[in-house]
Amino acid sequence: MLLPRLRRFARALTADVNDADDLVQIAVERALTRGAQLRPDAPLSSWMFGIVRNAWLDELRARGRRARLFAPEESAEQIGDASQGAHADLLAVQEALARLPEEQRAAVALVLIEGLSYKEAAHIMEVPIGTLTSRLARGREALQEMLGETTGALR
């Protein structure tokens, strides 16, 4: 079942549960009206991840805050009442992901969270593999720093 994976990917991209489900819904609707563009040599999952990511880029453009998604106020409230470790950790990870530039966040989400190969991730992001790996490396470094610092505070 692909839908839960699309939700996880969308959650990593948007760092917001409502944005994520809006995004998946838009992507599903696009996919079901654009089935003819499905290339027989590309796996369905890659095609769908690409649609989700492109829909998110469209949304960011529309919002005019393409480079950086700030943590919304409601997240601060959620952190306040998030006593369970798992939920706190999800918020910490989401917040760290949200601070990455979009192209680093997408690379991290596709390779580290979705477990795709460099080749598949580069194909979905429509960049050469070298570009993908350098975005991935920078995204990783930034996450290590952010999460290394925040883990103790949130736990």
Binding site: R8, R11, D21, P40, M48, R140, L147
Partner: protein, 244 residues
């Protein structure tokens, strides 16, 4: 030997070829710092997965399910109203996408909204197999597949509720695969999905159970009780008309 950050990262991501992987693993055994660099990458991946994986098990919101269910209505109306105009794409492809998105649970309602295709029929909210597919499910043994048959049977097995179920691949291009279980009167489709692309697949021969889309493999895992039937068990089940 020194390993660049890029190489260590590629190792942690499973992207090194066998020779370079072996070299790095050998070096790790005597170089704790190198092992630590690798561990740092693996720990980050584990942390991200631990935080986000619960999303996979969260119940799907109704609006998402509705978006998958509702979309083809428009397509179906267009096809019905303008019979001369070719639909932009055929229903098996749409069905495959939708089935991959949601798995077997929703396939009944999905196919009911789609135009009937050559090998499948919808009836009473269930999705019984008919035509060539039903014949193959009834008659064809995995151990004796006619060459060039439109349906190739994968594995046959008993489900936990006692019913017999079989996986299959449809079409010469083998673009659709599914799983059907035998009820009292007919085979019910549990799931139908697009098959993974296999550019190097040997012509005419497909080992049982291979090339199954993840959604079909998962349905198999969920349903199966014990092991798949061997050739003798399959023949015996056929002679009983696939009744428990």
């Amino acid at each position: 030997m020194n390993f660049s950050d890029e190489t260590v990262m590629a190792y942690a991501d499973g992207e090194l070829d066998a020779a370079r992987r072996a070299a790095l693993e050998a070096a790790m055994a005597t170089d704790p710092q190198l092992a630590q660099r690798v561990a740092r990458h693996l720990a980050l991946r584990a942390r991200l997965r631990a935080a986000l994986d619960p999303v996979l098990d969260a119940p799907l919101p109704e609006r998402l399910l509705a978006s998958v269910r509702g979309a083809p209505k428009h397509t179906a109306n267009v096809v019905a109203l303008k019979r001369q105009a070719a639909p932009r794409w055929s229903w098996p492809q749409w069905g495959a996408i939708a089935a991959s998105l949601v798995g077997g649970a929703l396939l009944g309602p999905l196919l009911l909204r789609a135009p009937a295709g050559p090998a499948l029929l919808t009836r009473d909210g269930q999705v019984p197999a008919s035509g060539a597919l039903a014949r193959a499910l009834n008659e064809q043994l995995a151990s004796h597949q006619p060459p060039g048959a439109p349906v190739q049977i994968g594995v046959s097995f008993r489900a936990r509720n006692g019913d017999y179920c079989r996986t299959f691949v449809l079409g010469e291009q083998s673009t659709l695969a599914g799983l059907a279980c035998r009820g009292h009167e007919a085979w019910r489709l549990e799931v139908l999905a697009q098959t993974p692309v296999q550019p190097a697949a040997a012509a005419g021969y497909r080992p049982a159970g291979s090339a199954l889309p993840a959604s079909v493999a998962r349905t198999l895992d969920e349903l199966i009780a014990g092991e798949p039937l061997d050739a003798a068990g399959e023949a015996a089940a056929r002679s009983r008309g696939w009744q428990p």
